[in-house]
């Protein structure tokens, strides 16, 4: 019995960590820049496709693809930021939503065109597949890896935003743009860098997701819902909040499917509604 509970909790935590990596970039850019970037999952999907392409066509080892993908999606997002996003920083939310959902739809079509509509296969290295069961609890190696990546990323982000000079600039630019400019901070550059990091993380999340939840051109629309769920429950701009929300939603999803399969798919939404009724601005949200 205890082994079941622990096993389900572990699976849920690992799933939550995947949601965290997929969502945290959006939480940061949306919270800090106030830009509704629904195309976040399009960058995640691109990350997934890059992972498949690097591994299956170019023979790059899985672990080596991850930093490459982070850099590549980050760099590409900069182009989009320069050309498209920047024009809408001051526009209304509806305009931002229309632009970015349009990008999502275009990404779906583009991925179908270049990679086809079918599921993309990835073969993980041996040392990341399989499982072992200490005390009867099944621990998948890949899920352990995912959990480690998620936790490490959370620590790096918290440290980066709270303790570094760049983090201080970001926070200053968000709190009072005019004052920050007055102090000589290049706000445009700070925002662009934040955006690139956020999108790079999305790409990384997409690459990590392929093995667990699969990849096809509908990835961007399918997981947008989950990502928005995590971001809204966690509270905009809060790394800790996103982490907590991802863990809670991940575990309740897996536990729900295991213990009450009749209600399985609905549990995650019920949890969201309850949490948002309790804290409308999200778990650690500062503004609603």
């Amino acid at each position: 019995m205890l082994a079941h509970v622990l096993g389900v909790t572990f699976d849920g935590f690992a799933y939550g960590m995947l949601l965290f990596v997929l969502s945290v970039g959006l939480s940061v850019t949306m919270g800090l820049m106030g830009f509704v970037n629904l195309a976040h999952t399009a960058f995640a999907m691109l990350g997934g496709y890059l992972c498949v392409t690097f591994m299956e066509r170019l023979g790059v080892p899985f672990l080596a693809t991850l930093p490459l993908i982070f850099l590549a999606t980050g760099a590409l997002s900069l182009v989009f930021e320069r050309v498209l996003y920047r024009r809408l920083y001051r526009a209304g939310e509806l305009d931002q939503v229309l632009l970015t959902i349009g990008l999502v739809l275009m990404s779906v079509a583009a991925c179908s065109y270049f990679w086809g509509t079918e599921q993309q296969p990835v073969t993980l290295p041996k040392y990341l597949s399989g499982y072992f069961s200490p005390g009867g609890v099944d621990l998948g190696v890949y899920r352990l890896f995912l959990s480690a990546v998620g936790i490490a990323l959370a620590l790096v982000l918290v440290f980066g935003l709270e303790r570094t000079r760049f983090g201080a600039q970001v926070r200053a630019a968000v709190d009072n743009q005019r004052m920050a400019r007055g102090l000589g901070i290049d706000v445009n550059r700070v925002f662009a860098a934040t955006f690139a990091v956020g999108s790079g993380l999305a790409g990384l999340g997409g690459a990590l997701a392929v093995n667990m939840i699969g990849l096809d051109p509908n990835f961007a629309t399918k997981y947008l819902v989950f990502v928005l769920l995590v971001v809204s429950v966690g509270g905009l701009g809060s790394v800790g909040g996103t982490f907590a929300a991802a863990v809670v939603l991940g575990i309740s999803d897996v536990a729900g499917k295991y213990y009450v399969p009749e209600a399985g798919a609905f549990i995650i939404y019920a949890v969201m509604v309850t949490l948002l009724l309790w804290r409308p601005a999200g778990l650690f949200g500062r503004r609603s």
Binding site: S112, E118, Q119, G214, D216, A255, K257, P261, G264
Partner: protein, 393 residues
């Protein structure tokens, strides 16, 4: 209204009239098939296979029958979207004046056009959607593909005959899944077996870990799976492999949807040894199938033809048969009379349209996933002849 706007409207009207007239002028010497299917979205690959099958038949048999040119008018539902499917069917009937409706990968889209088919008396060929109930919804529906009870019951019988007594079932929570679950339970318990548990998984499942863990904890003798083809089979098998279920003593049974030929390669060795039942395998051993597979490969490259391609191919054969019997003058009731009782030698084996239900009667094969020359194949090892859909009352 400004002058410019007025001009625009007038121009638009003129254009519409011109096109409408042009369409009417051609109507006399063409047979139009309104193909409603899921060309984008999660079932895009299936819809493509189906259309490829149809076009291959046209290529092999020429695009003229009884002096009439056959024309496919293709409409995309963008996935499971009954409202869209219905609207597209209406447009095809009213505006394009089609002679046949055809296509339909998923059940909800097929069900949505039943009223349209009935009211317009348009013979409608279901080329995939496999929920049993579909053909009962309109007297103008005929199905050339399969039904889930049709392929599931023989598998349940096979399992009992081969010593399996306790089975856990896991299916997708929508029409075909429930059909499969019901059929398996009915046939298996009738034989004397026991269902130790069942789960219905949401259609949008992403992470199957909870379900796989449940199987592992229950440790049944066998598990029966149905998930729709395309994106889910590889995912669920991967999760099973990750938990060591594919190498355990638990036998994995499934309908052929789960080892669909077009996606089987992506499942990798996780699929090895699975026992499935279906009406078509790419590896089906017959001269006709070898010819079909070779022609398909020549036309479309690497993609394997699967049961969807065969559905499109045979559906087109049926349409050609009707057009030639009626000498090109398509009348709904006369067409249905020709369709009922149609017999045909398909790449999958002999098929017939049951005159009573307008559903397909065909052989069902029990297959095992094996690796030959580095490729995964559904190798048939047992044939159950002339199976009717047992899901009909």
């Amino acid at each position: 209204m400004s002058r410019l706007q007025a001009l625009g409207v007038a121009g638009g009207v003129a254009l519409a009239v011109a096109f409408g007239w042009a369409a009417d002028a051609r109507a006399g010497d063409t047979i139009k098939i309104g193909l409603v299917s899921e060309f984008s979205g999660p079932f895009a690959l299936s819809a493509k296979e189906m259309e490829d099958g149809m076009r291959l038949y046209m290529k092999e048999h020429g695009d003229t029958v009884a002096g009439k040119k056959i024309e496919i008018i293709r409409r995309d539902t963008g996935g499971p979207a009954p409202d869209v499917a219905k609207r597209l069917a209406q447009e095809l009937v009213v505006r394009d004046n089609v002679d046949f409706l055809a296509g339909f990968v998923v059940t909800p889209n097929a069900l949505a056009v039943a009223d349209v088919a009935t009211q317009a008396k348009k013979p409608t060929i279901i080329m995939n959607a496999a929920t049993s109930i579909i053909t009962t919804k309109s007297p103008y529906f005929a199905r050339v593909s399969f039904t889930l009870p049709q392929v599931t019951e023989p598998l349940a019988n096979w399992a009992y005959k081969n010593g399996v007594r306790k089975v856990y079932t896991m299916v997708t929570d929508y029409g075909p899944g429930i059909d499969a679950e019901t059929a398996f339970k009915k046939a298996f318990t009738a034989d004397g077996g026991e269902i130790v548990g069942s789960v219905r998984m949401p259609l949008q499942s992403a992470d199957f870990s909870a379900y796989a863990q449940k199987v592992k904890d229950l440790d049944p003798q066998a598990v029966f799976i149905f998930v729709p083809s395309n994106d889910q089979p590889a995912q669920i098998m991967k999760t099973f492999a990750e938990r060591g279920l594919t190498t355990s003593n638990i036998k994995i049974l499934a309908t052929g949807d789960v080892t669909e030929d077009a996606v089987l390669q992506q499942e990798g060795d996780a699929a090895l040894g699975m026992i499935t039942s279906h009406h078509y395998s790419y590896a089906h051993d017959s001269a006709l199938n070898k010819k079909f597979v070779a022609a398909f490969a020549k036309e479309y490259g690497d993609l394997r033809p699967d049961f969807l391609a065969v559905g499109g191919y045979d559906g087109m054969a049926l349409i050609y048969h009707v057009v030639s019997e009626l000498k090109g003058n398509i009348d709904g009731d006369k067409a249905m009379a020709v369709i009922k009782g149609w017999k045909h030698e398909s790449p999958r084996g002999p098929i017939m349209i049951d005159p009573a239900t307008r559903d397909v009667v065909q052989n069902v094969y029990i297959r095992k996933v094996e690796k030959k020359d580095g490729k995964l194949l559904n190798v048939e090892f047992e044939t159950i002849k002339d199976v009717k859909d047992p899901g009909k009352p």
